[in-house]
C-alpha cells in the first residue's frame, strides 16, 4: 500500500503525447525515456513527478500507437500506477508487460482532483481518495504474476529457465 500524489488528465490521452514518435527510434534507454514522459501533454511533468505518484485520467488512456515506451517512460519516471476510466487495448497490455499497474475505476477518477492524494491497495483491490474507497477488478493470476515479476520479459525469462 502506497500513498501517491495525483496528476490528473482528461480523455483520450494518446501515446504520441505520452511519448512522442520522434523519439521512438532514437531513445532506447528507459531512464532517458522517462525525461520525455508526457512531454507533449504536460511539458513540466517529467521534471516534477516524484516516485510513487499516480496518473489519473479519463477514457481511452493510451490510445494510438503500439509503442511500449509510452508505458516504459511512465514507469521509469516513477509513476506507481495509472488509474483511468478506460484504457486503450494495446497500452493496457504494454503497461502490464512493463510491470506498470493499470487500474480501471470511473468512480475513483471522478472522486479526485489534480494534486490530491491517493492510496492504492493492490491486495485488497481498492483505491482510497479523500472522497472514499473504490474497488477495482482484481487482476487474473497470470497478470498478477507478470506485474510481480516486473514485466513480461523477466516473467518469461523465469518461466523459460524453469522449463
Amino acid at each position: 500500500m502506497k500513498r501517491g500524489r495525483v496528476w490528473k488528465y482528461g480523455d483520450n490521452v494518446n501515446t504520441d503525447v505520452i511519448f512522442p514518435g520522434k523519439y521512438t527510434y532514437s531513445i532506447l534507454e528507459p531512464e532517458e525515456m522517462a525525461h520525455h514522459a508526457l512531454e507533449d501533454l504536460d511539458p513540466g511533468f517529467a521534471q516534477k513527478v516524484k516516485p510513487g505518484d499516480v496518473i489519473v485520467a479519463g477514457r481511452n488512456f493510451g490510445c494510438g500507437s503500439s509503442r511500449e515506451q509510452a508505458a516504459t517512460c511512465l514507469k521509469y519516471a516513477g509513476v506507481q500506477a495509472v488509474v483511468a476510466k478506460s484504457f486503450a487495448r494495446i497500452f493496457f497490455r504494454n503497461a502490464i508487460n512493463q510491470g506498470l499497474p493499470v487500474l480501471q475505476s470511473e468512480e475513483a477518477v471522478d472522486s479526485i482532483e489534480h494534486g490530491g492524494e491517493i492510496e492504492i491497495d493492490f491486495d485488497r483491490g481498492s483505491i482510497k481518495t479523500a472522497r472514499g474507497d473504490f474497488s477495482f477488478p482484481a487482476f487474473p493470476e497470470s497478470v498478477m504474476g507478470i506485474l510481480e515479476a516486473g514485466g513480461l520479459i523477466p516473467y518469461t525469462k523465469k518461466k523459460l529457465e524453469g522449463k
Partner: protein, 417 residues
Amino acid sequence: MGKTFSEKILGLKAQKDVQAGEVVTVSPDYILSHDNSAAIIKEFRKLGVKDVISPQKLVIILDHVVPAASEKYALNHKTIREFVSSQKIQNFFDIPFGICHQVFSENGFALPGKLILGADSHTTSYGAFGAFAAGIGRSEVATLWATDEIWLRVPETIKIEIKGELPSGVYVKDVILKIIGEEGADRANYKAVEFTGEAVKKFSLASRLVLANMAAEMGAKNGYFEPDEETLLWLKGRAKDEFKVISSDPDARYEAVLDHNISSLEPQVACPHTVDNVKPVSKAEGKEFHQAVIGTCTNGRFEDLEIAARILKGKKVHPKVRVLIIPASRQEYLLALKKGILEILVEAGCVILNPGCGPCLGAHQGVLAPGEVALSTANRNFRGRMGSRDAQIYLASPATVAASSLEGKITDPRKFL
C-alpha cells in the same frame, strides 16, 4: 448460436470451442515488426534464448525512418540486418520496399483465416483480406520470438453495415472518418469490427485497407472483411501460404450492429488533435495550411495517387504549400511511375519521397515547425505527431488534400471534379 469470425479463428487456433470474453493461448501464423525490431532484439536478448523459435514466422520490414536519418537510426537498422542474417530470417524487407502494412499485404502474408500479430497498431489492416490481425507491444513480440505463444482475449464483435453508394468526390477515407467521428475514438476498444453491407462489396482492396487500417483509430483489436472473389483474385500468385477463408455465421452474436448510409456523405476532415474530431469539409473550409502529405499506410497507394493526379493535372500547387507525395511501397511507386502519375504530380510542384512512413510519425522528411499546419492523408492527427507540439494536423482523403493544395486552404474537392 453461431459464431463470429473472431470466435472461430481464435477457437481454431486454441483448438477448442470459444466465445467472446474467453482468454486463449495461441500461436500466430506471422509476426510483423519494423524499425522497432532493434528494440525488440534488445528485449529478446534479455530472455536468455539464443535463437528465434520459428524464424519462418517473422516478417521484418524497414519503413519508419528509411533511409536512416541519423547515426542512431543507422545503428538500429544495422542491428536488425545483423540479427536477420544470424537468425536466418527469410522474410526481411530492407529499405527499398515501403511501408510495412503495404509490403506485408502485397507480398502475400496477409491471408484469409490467418492469425497475424504485429508490433504496430495498424496491423489491423490485414483484416481487409479476412485475416485476424492485431497490434501488440514489443515485450510481447520478443516473447513470441522466444516461445511462439501469447494469450489473447476473444473479442466481442461490432458489425458495421455500410449501405448506399459513394457520391462522386467522396471516398472511403471520408466514410471511415465519418464513422469514427460519430462513434468515437474508443467505441471499439478491445473489440473486433466487421465491415459489411452492400457498399463494401464495391470497395477495391486498396479501399478496404483504408477501413481496416483505421479501425485501429476506433480502438479496435482487429477489423475484418469477408474475403470475396476480388480478394481471391488479388491473392492469386501472391499468397505465401495455403489458406482457408473463415467467415462469421449468419446467426453469430454481435455486441452491436451499426448502420451507416453513405449515399449523401460529404467529404470529411478530422481536425486537431483527435481522430474523432470530425467535421464535414464545409465546416473546415478556408483553413490555411503549410504542408500537405499524400501517403502513409492509410492512403499512399496507386488509387490515392491517381485521384490526386486527376485533380492536380495541368495545375500548380499553391506557392505557400509544400506538397509531399509518399508512395506506400515500391510496387505502388512503380505503377504510378509507369502510368505517368508521378510526372503529373511533379509538374504540379509536388515533392516525391521514397516509399516509407515519411513524416507520419514526426521523425524525418518534413516534420512541422511550431505554428505550422499540415493536411494529411494519414490516420492520426495527435498533438506533436508530425513534429512540434504546437503544430496542427488535419486529416482528409487524397482528393481533399490535393484540391486543398491548389488553394492553399482546406477546400471541397468536388469543385475540381
